[in-house]
């Protein structure tokens, strides 16, 4: 299980990253891999647009020193033509710069969206191949948040942070070089001021991050309280517990305010401090530059012109801006790395292993011998290619299931099933009864290998299920689960889920068999009715009927049924029951029974308690035995 930390919208803890460099390289793999060409172009575009901006700034010096000042000194009609040419040249560079910026934007859209798409696709592909155990141990909210929040952090990082940082670094370097060329003393002054700004930032950021941690913690507490109380609001009303809740909420809320106030105050003052320090730096440069321009003779290497001063002042502003931007982007990169870490962790989970080599094929009888064939014959066979000599053996699919001394635990330290022995002949009905947590559902999940057993053997038509390809094994087993899950789509599509190439007639036949045809027909759009949000527009009973139809159309030789729940009323349940009964006919069926009526006519009833089969036999035999089954059946162990 992931930690109990609140992973709500705001209350996310920021985990310590073990290897940020490695994660970053892996993200870059997704970016560079398919978009190498794009990335190179983007880099060129960034360089071009930075240089175009810089040449404009430097042009100010030429404008003043080379064009305006000489014109002021030369009497008579000034000649504007050289200036016009120079300005046109600058304009062309500017235009190129703007076009480079545009190209960069467009390219980055493809890179960003493409990378997100590839990650999402890959994540989903990997997820579909994860074993059921993964979904048991990770909350669905956490899994979803990887798809939404974590992948979204990639957008910010790839689209903005990285280009911005490249741009900033390049701007800083080129500006720095230009500053050095213009004036070394002023550059030193600027650097000192930058240092002061960094110290100030470090101070405020330190203070604020401490308070931010505090704020996140308290926000988590407030949100947790809100969630709990809103969920229990009706109970609060019933128990007239409003005032107590209010008092507790006020306490939590006030303490959140205190840390939010402090945390934000430190962040807020950071901006003005840096901005005004930047202004001070600007002023000092102006004063020092002014002195240099006045007092240093033109022959000295420290000599300075007005044009130089004007250009330098602009560079001074341009120099501190990207440094601030880098520090801003840093935060979003840390967030993105944390997001990527979660994405990669999920991608790196070990997928379901499948070493099975026995496959399921269509078969037909030819002179009393089973032969593989292409067409659908309604008859299936296991194709068993012996690994030793490569010889192929065909075995008809019949539905004979044997458990032989099976032990199982979700974690190796804690076994939940012990020494399960069981033999279901083709067409037999085996029922499991027992209390919640006795292991009924677990047994059925072993047959289709949702989980792998620790010890013992499960044989299907005499073949160890480990040798059967998982997909083929599962195709030969039908499942109707207690929690019916339907998919967005029409009713027909949902039934067809069991057999993708089913005709409309087959769909209808399956629905009829499951007793679902009646209510489907009465829906305004019949079989084309759209189901939304897991079939929320249908009643529990109707959804169950659809799930039965879905299993019926797949027509599997072995069925696993987790029966209807107590939330269905008796009359609806009877309809569901009828559907189930029809489905079970002629198939090997494993039933997790909740109602005695289904159990009675079973060929074998297994009573489970704490992971062991403690009784087994037919209904009459078990009643005769007056054991646990008898108690369950009569429900009067203590009352009488």
């Amino acid at each position: 299980m992931p930690g109990p930390g609140n992973r709500g919208a705001m209350g996310r803890p920021r985990p310590k990253l073990e290897n940020p460099g490695k994660i970053f390289r892996r993200i870059m793999g997704y970016v560079f891999g398919p978009y190498k060409f794009h990335c190179i172009l983007v880099f060129i575009c960034i360089v071009v647009s930075v240089l175009a901006g810089l040449q404009g700034t430097l042009f100010m010096r030429n404008l003043i020193d080379d064009y305006i000042s000489p014109m002021l000194l030369t009497p008579g009609e000034p000649d504007f033509n050289p200036l016009l040419r120079a300005i046109l040249r600058v304009a062309i560079f500017y235009l190129i710069g703007a076009m480079a910026g545009f190209a960069q934007n467009i390219l980055m859209i493809y890179v960003t969206q493409g990378t997100m798409r590839n990650m999402r696709d890959e994540l989903f592909e990997k997820m579909e191949k994860l074993p059921i155990g993964y979904f048991d141990s990770h909350s669905h909210g956490d899994i979803m948040s990887t798809y939404t929040n974590d992948i979204d952090t990639m957008r910010q990082m790839i689209n903005q942070s990285i280009p911005q940082i490249i741009n900033s670094v390049f701007t800083v370097v080129s500006t720095f070089v230009s500053m050095l060329v213009l004036s070394i003393p002023l550059t030193i002054v600027t650097l000192i001021m930058i240092f002061v700004m960094m110290m100030a930032t470090k101070f405020a950021a330190g203070r604020s991050s401490k308070n931010f941690v505090e704020q996140q913690k308290k926000l988590g507490a407030v949100n947790g309280f809100i969630e709990e109380m809103m969920n229990g609001q009706k109970v609060v009303k019933v128990f007239c517990h409003e005032e107590e809740g209010k008092a507790r909420f006020k306490e939590l809320n006030d303490s959140l305010f205190e840390s939010a106030d402090k945390a934000n105050a430190y962040v807020n003052v950071l901006g003005p401090i840096n901005a005004q320090l930047g202004n001070v730096s600007y002023v000092i440069c102006a004063i020092v530059g002014g002195c240099l321009a006045i007092f240093v003779p033109e022959t000295s290497i420290f000599s300075f012109t007005i044009g130089g001063l004007v250009s330098f002042l602009t560079l001074n502003k341009n120099f501190s801006m990207p440094i601030n931007q880098i520090s801003q982007q840093f935060n979003s990169i840390v967030m993105a790395l944390a997001g990527a870490d979660r994405i990669f962790k999920m991608m790196d989970e070990t997928p379901e292993t499948d070493n099975g080599y026995v496959t399921l094929v269509n078969a037909k009888d030819e002179n009393g011998k089973l032969v593989e064939c292409e067409e659908r014959t309604g008859k299936w066979a296991w194709k068993h290619t012996h690994q030793a000599d490569g010889s192929v053996e065909y075995k008809e699919l019949r539905g004979d299931v044997v458990f032989d001394g099976v032990d199982f635990g979700y974690v190796p330290e804690k076994m939940v099933l012990h020494d399960i022995e069981l033999h279901a002949l083709p067409g037999q009905k085996i029922a499991f009864v027992g209390s919640t947590g006795a292991g009924k559902t677990t047994i059925t999940n072993l047959i289709n290998r949702f989980y792998d057993i620790q010890d013992g053997k499960i044989r299907y038509d005499g073949i160890n299920v480990n040798k059967i390809k998982k997909a083929d094994l599962r195709r030969s087993l039908g499942m109707v689960l207690q929690d019916t899950h339907l998919f967005t789509g029409t009713i027909a599509e949902n039934i067809r889920y069991g057999k993708l190439d089913a005709t409309d007639e087959e769909v209808k036949a399956a629905a009829k068999l499951a007793n679902a045809h009646g209510f489907i027909k009465r829906l305004p759009d019949g079989y084309d009715t759209m189901l939304t949000g897991d079939g929320a527009n249908l009643s529990q009973g109707q959804r169950q009927l659809l799930a039965i139809a879905r299993a019926a159309i797949a027509d599997p030789p072995v069925l696993i049924l987790d029966e209807a729940t107590s939330s269905i009323d008796t009359r609806t349940e009877r309809i569901v029951q009828e559907g189930m009964d029809r489905l079970m006919k002629g198939r090997t069926t494993f039933v997790i029974a909740h109602r005695l009526s289904t159990v009675k006519n079973s060929d074998c009833i297994c009573v489970l308690e704490q992971g062991r089969i403690i009784e087994r036999g037919t209904h009459d035999e078990l009643i005769e035995a007056k054991g646990r089954y008898y108690t369950l059946y009569t429900g009067n162990k203590i009352a009488q």
Binding site: N223, A260, D261, N268, I273, A286
Partner: protein, 582 residues
């Protein structure tokens, strides 16, 4: 709507005023610097006057420091004002929700209320801070810069004005054309996430039917779709940035050209040219800020709407004037009651209900799902108000009682019940704050909860996790019953509250009730016939109407619905689901 939100600023009004005032100070000081710079260049450097440079330089440092002061104040008070508003909003909403009736709560849904109290408040907090600090700063710095530019040189400054108007129009066009596309993206994006969600929760179905490949290709298709529309939408806004930089560049070039000419003609000085260029930058920066605010604020408008919806909601059940504060006995009568969840024009789900229940009677209620059993009992403690007719408890109309009195005397164990974080004692004492440990244990014993509580290592001090996830369904139900018993009510209503308790324990609970609280009127809703067959009388509800109200024996003899259910549950079709090993 905005006015309703602003009402919550309350004690932070001062902070909310001082913040923009400080920002104004900061802007004016900041923008005076380029102006002074012109003076340094022209009168200082060009004239070779060192003392002037130092004098004006000192002035600039002072300006920067005053600006810093403004900025600090703005930051400090901005944080206080916005965090304060958030605090007040949360508190007002929370307190207001406490006055909501069940139907108010239904209207918003639990998750809706949670989002409003959390995410929406945070959005408003951020937007408010943004507005106080930057929404004042950006337009102001634009205006001040423009004014300064005009005082320096009106001809050149008018270039800015043209550029500004041009940019505003272009950006607005881009924004409006792309807004539609973006709006159409979100439902698609939601649909994509929904289909992922479906796969996560239905993974067993996917795997059982071996449909991984099909689901993957379905997602690839959806994901490609999203990719395409995102690319299309983002391309539209990608024009914004190059157009903006082109405009800046065009301004710089025009100023350089015109400025050079004017300097030569002695209409402008070099220093003034520098200032003009600096103002050009700050004007365009403010423009960008404004865009950003616009996006932020429009995002928070939806949140504001949702929050003010909660604040404006009128609770539809309130205490009457001069309420009755004593419930005489546990008798209940329904007189021609009909009820609908929708106030106007809704199909009533309870019709013509007439009932007379004597104090101390045990009443069973049965009926199919959707036959409005829960709705019927919820009217007794006035969790909902009847649409027509009246409900009397102890001979008095429930609308005349003080709500707290009524609900303390009519104790309901809801179908969807909840335990809260805290010890078992804490949870039980919801029923009665002042209950002693012994009283708590006594109630637990009656509800057959004592035995499993005692088996916990920490006994009654066992910590219950949020939502009661660390106890089983049956244990949770028994704790909820014990909690309701602690109220010592005159009427006890169990709404399908023992469905996860095994039949034997269920029987023991009912027996305990019979012996320990014989005077309490008990209403029991159940799916299991065994839970109600020993009641004094049984109500058979069918599709919102009373089909029959009689004893078990009579119903068995005369009522078809009852007999049908009874037969289906006995004779080998009884229910042994969820039975617990205790």
């Amino acid at each position: 709507m905005v006015r309703r939100i602003l009402k919550e600023v309350k004690q932070y009004t001062f902070a909310s005023i001082i913040t923009p005032v400080s920002m104004i100070l900061e802007v004016i000081m900041e923008l005076s610097i380029p102006y002074l710079m012109a003076s340094i260049i022209d009168k200082g450097v060009n004239a070779g006057d060192m003392s002037h440079i130092l004098k004006v330089g000192g002035l600039m440092v002072v300006a920067a420091l005053i600006g810093l002061f403004g900025g600090l104040m703005g930051g400090r008070f901005g944080a206080m004002a916005s965090a304060g508003l958030a605090k007040n909003l949360r508190e007002s909403m929370y307190n207001h929700i406490q006055t909501f009736s069940f139907s108010n709560i239904d209207k918003f849904s639990t998750s809706g209320l949670v989002t409003r109290l959390t995410t929406d408040v945070t959005n408003i907090q951020n937007a408010y801070q943004m507005i106080l600090r930057i929404a004042v700063r950006a337009p102001l710095s634009m205006i001040v810069a423009l004014v300064m530019a005009f005082t320096i040189n009106a001809r050149i400054a008018s270039i800015y004005l043209i550029a500004l108007v041009f940019l505003a129009i272009v950006l607005l066009i881009i924004m409006f054309t792309s807004m539609g596309t973006f709006k159409s993206i979100f439902p698609k994006y939601d649909a994509l996430n929904e289909s992922i969600q479906e796969n996560v929760s239905a993974i067993r179905v996917v795997k059982a039917y071996v449909r991984e490949e099909q689901e993957i290709s379905k997602l690839h298709k959806a994901s490609k779709n999203i990719y395409n529309i995102f690319v299309k939408a983002e391309k539209k806004i990608s024009f914004a940035f190059p157009i903006m930089s082109l405009t800046v560049y065009a301004c710089i070039i025009l100023i350089s050209w015109l400025g050079a000419k004017m300097i030569v003609q002695n209409q402008l000085t070099t220093g003034e040219l520098t200032s003009l260029l600096a103002y050009c930058m700050s004007i365009l920066m403010s423009m960008m800020m404004l865009m950003m605010i616009f996006v932020m604020v429009s995002m928070s408008i939806a949140s504001m709407e949702r929050v003010s919806e909660v604040l404006k909601e009128e609770p539809d059940i309130v205490n009457p004037e001069n309420p009755v504060t004593e419930v005489k006995d546990g008798s209940i009568s329904f007189k021609n009651v009909s009820f609908s969840y929708h106030k106007e024009g809704g199909e009533p789900i309870l019709r013509n209900i007439n009932l007379d229940i004597k104090s101390g009677e045990v009443i069973g209620i049965m009926g199919a799902t959707g036959s409005s059993k829960s709705s019927l009992v919820n009217l007794i403690s006035r969790l909902y108000d009847v649409t027509d007719g009246e409900v009397l408890v102890g001979g008095v109309n429930v609308k005349d009682y003080d709500l707290e009195t009524l609900r303390n005397e009519v104790s309901v164990v809801l179908q969807k019940n909840v335990l809260f974080t805290g010890s078992i004692y804490d949870n039980l004492r919801w029923g009665n704050k002042n209950a002693t440990d012994e009283e708590c244990r006594e109630a637990a014993r009656l509800a057959c909860a004592d035995e499993f509580i005692s088996s916990f290592p920490d006994g009654y001090e066992t910590h219950i996790e949020q939502g009661g996830t660390n106890v089983s369904g049956g244990q949770k139900q028994r704790l909820c019953i014990a909690r309701a018993l602690l109220k010592k009510p005159k009427i006890l209503i169990l709404d399908d509250s023992t469905s996860a308790v095994d039949t034997a324990t269920d029987a023991r609970i009912r027996q305990a009730f019979r012996e320990a609280i014989p005077g309490t009127t008990k209403l029991i809703i159940a799916q299991r016939i065994s839970s109600i067959q020993d009641a004094d009388r049984i109500i058979v509800l069918d599709d919102g109407e009373i089909n029959a109200f009689d004893t078990h024996e009579n119903l068995l003899a005369n009522n078809e619905i009852y007999r049908e259910v009874y037969e289906s549950q006995t004779g080998g079709s009884r229910d042994f689901d969820e039975t617990e090993v205790s």
